[in-house]
């Protein structure tokens, strides 16, 4: 009922508005697809709180730092039970220690063999890991555990500090391993918006 009352009030207001604008400009009624313009402006500061995405070039990386020595302890506490010692042998996917590459009968897709961008590791660890408490690690801890995973894969040194500048510069072994499939243009189906 409340929804109906609100709807009727809105309709009345819209009708009044339409009369006003029509009288003023003589314009056509709005198209069937036009929205009522209810989006609320939002400040950059508010957006920054929600915007957790990190791009390959490091856009979106927060302040903070960590290295593999620090990361080892964080990994032991939050990751080892599922991902196994040194990133393999656990119940979850292997993160390191691939014996085979990506060709042949037993391809192994780990951070070292498959992931094209180091910044994606930070992005994913911060947004989704650990599974029981995603978002619970500090940015320093995420940098450190990311450094540890890169170290386990022989990509960075144990004392190499990862931060917003150094992490995106890490060259991943499979950086050029992907073939982006440009989606061929499809016929727009009738009845599209």
């Amino acid at each position: 009922m409340a929804r109906y009352a609100a709807y009727m009030a809105t309709r009345a207001a819209a009708a009044a508005l339409l009369l006003l604008t029509s009288a003023k400009t003589g314009s056509e009624p709005p198209s069937a697809a036009a929205g009522p313009g209810l989006g609320q402006p939002v400040s950059d500061a508010e957006i920054a709180v929600w915007d957790i995405g990190v791009f390959p070039d490091g856009t979106g990386l927060p302040p903070g730092r960590g290295d593999a020595r620090q990361g080892r302890e964080i990994y032991r506490r939050h990751c080892l039970s599922c991902h196994g010692a040194r990133g393999k042998g656990g119940s979850a996917m292997a993160l390191a220690g691939a014996q085979y590459g990506l060709t042949g009968d037993y391809p192994q897709k780990t951070v070292g063999t498959y992931w094209p961008y180091a910044a994606t590791l930070f992005d994913f660890n911060r947004r989704a890991m650990p599974m029981q408490a995603p978002g619970s690690l500090t940015d320093d801890e995420v940098y450190a555990v990311t450094a540890y995973l890169l170290f386990l894969n022989g990509i960075v040194g144990e004392d190499e500090r990862m931060d917003a500048v150094s992490l995106p510069r890490v060259q991943m072994p499979n950086r050029d391993g992907f073939l982006p499939m440009a989606a061929p243009p499809m016929e727009a189906p009738p009845g599209r918006p």
Partner: protein, 450 residues
């Protein structure tokens, strides 16, 4: 601590119907074969026998029926028609549930049986607390409440939704013996209703250089992916309703992205954020996962469109034909490239093909039901279907798909499916061509991923 693999789990070799009595799911080959997923076929036979040619008593006609209900449920007799769950024991919200396609008819999937793929569970979201943020390369970053979006002009669209990992057991060296839906049922079809994304983008404006849309969910995985903006502007919906009612929690309540014909993972559930960008974000789920490794060691990326596919469901694996005679072959076809133009069926392993009848409206990116009469004479037969879509693409034979993609792509398996009818009427899954290598070592792919 239980992080887990987030890939859609591999299909078990043998998959049993869920055992509700024990409150858990069993995987028991004998249970599957004995209890019989051919219940729909066998049940008819049993009922006829019980009737014994006479008309049964109907005691329900001599007492008052049950009272009204606020929300209806299926008949208790249909309690075994359920999604089959395969989740990571260490992280039970990470896994899938398969839609029992082999038990359903028509083209619309009941909401309670729509397949699921969650990476870390179903969030509980109060709609009044949910927001959609649209920002990045826009003229005006804006926030929308769900109540706001409900006031926008809505559009409805019948279309299928399919996980990129659907049917991935097809890459295995040997065919999986499980009911059709529990191998190929990471696909469902609904009428989705929502606000065209284009309407909202008209309000925010789009700045020059914007070519990608990064979508993000409000779940414990903060699932994010990049989508070509031109595609999204053309037909994406901010979906609020599914088959007439508000979205189910497991399908993104209160708001999800809906991209007809595109890989399931792009249809971000619990949608909280849309960022317009001049490049993809290269999220974990568009690099490390949902990419298709080729024999060369390179991987196909951004393979968003679900290619043409068909699947014979009646009969299908696990069912049993009670005896020779006339049967109606029936199944579903769909394509992310538009309408289904033609479906053909073969009863001799692909030597001869006949055109099947397409039923009802043929809608773009939507399930299309096909039917074909078949007189079974009692001998062995291999039943197949193949579909042609309006882009001119035929569903490939398995050998052709493997020749092009190798065996380690994991995603986007859409080859012709073959069912072997034995002399005794039992139906089992086979590879109907030379691509199977059935006697090869059992080192199937992906076995260590779950």
């Amino acid at each position: 601590m239980a992080a887990g693999p987030e890939d859609p789990p591999r299909a078990p070799r043998d998959r049993a119907p869920p055992d509700r009595a024990q409150g858990s799911l069993r995987m028991d080959r004998r249970g599957f074969l004995g209890a019989g997923l051919g219940a729909s076929v066998l049940g008819v036979v049993a009922a006829r026998r019980a009737a014994g040619g006479a008309l049964p008593e109907q005691p329900a006609m001599r007492e008052a029926g049950a009272p009204f209900s606020n929300y209806g449920r299926p008949s208790p007799s249909e309690k075994d028609i359920v999604r089959w769950i395969a989740a990571n024991p260490g992280a039970p919200g990470n896994g899938v549930s398969w839609c029992p396609l082999h038990e359903l008819e028509g083209i619309v999937t009941p909401n309670g049986l729509h397949f699921e793929r969650h990476h870390n569970g179903v969030p509980r979201i109060a709609p009044e607390d949910h927001r959609l943020l649209v920002h990045g390369l826009v003229e005006r970053p804006l926030v929308f409440r769900v109540a706001d979006l409900l006031r926008y002009p809505l559009r409805s669209r019948l279309c299928f939704l399919e996980c990129g990992g659907n049917s991935n057991a097809g890459w295995h060296r040997r065919p999986v013996q499980a009911p059709a839906g529990y191998v190929h049922g990471l696909v469902s079809c609904s009428e989705w209703t929502g606000v065209p994304l284009a309407t909202v983008l008209a309000e925010t404006g789009i700045r020059g250089g914007a070519s990608w849309l990064v979508a993000e969910g409000a779940d414990a995985f903060a699932m994010n992916v990049s989508i070509p903006l031109a595609e999204a502007r053309r037909d994406a919906l901010l979906a609020l309703y599914q088959n007439g009612e508000r979205l189910r929690p497991e399908n993104g309540y209160p708001l999800r992205l809906l991209l007809p014909g595109r890989e399931g993972v792009l249809n971000v559930k619990w949608l909280r954020r849309l960022q317009l960008s001049d490049r993809p974000i290269m999220a974990r789920n568009e690099t490390s996962r949902y990419t298709e490794l080729l024999p060369s060691g390179k991987a196909r990326q951004f393979t968003g469109i679900m290619e043409v596919k068909s699947l014979l469901l009646a009969p299908s694996a696990g069912m049993s034909l009670p005896g020779p005679g006339l049967y109606q072959l029936s199944g579903l076809a769909w394509s992310g490239r538009g309408r289904i133009r033609r479906v053909e069926v073969s009863v001799d392993g692909g030597r001869q093909w006949q055109e099947a009848a397409l039923e009802g409206p043929s809608l773009p990116c939507c399930f299309t039901r096909f039917r074909h009469p078949w007189r079974w004479r009692g001998g062995p037969a291999v039943l197949q279907s193949r579909a042609l879509d309006e882009s001119g693409a035929w569903q490939p034979e398995r050998a052709a798909l493997l020749a092009e993609h190798g065996r380690h792509g994991y995603f986007h398996y859409h080859a012709i499916v073959s069912w072997q009818v034995e002399e005794d009427g039992t139906v089992r899954s086979v590879y109907g061509d030379a691509g199977g290598g059935g006697s090869a070592a059992p080192a199937d792919i992906g076995e260590d991923w779950f």
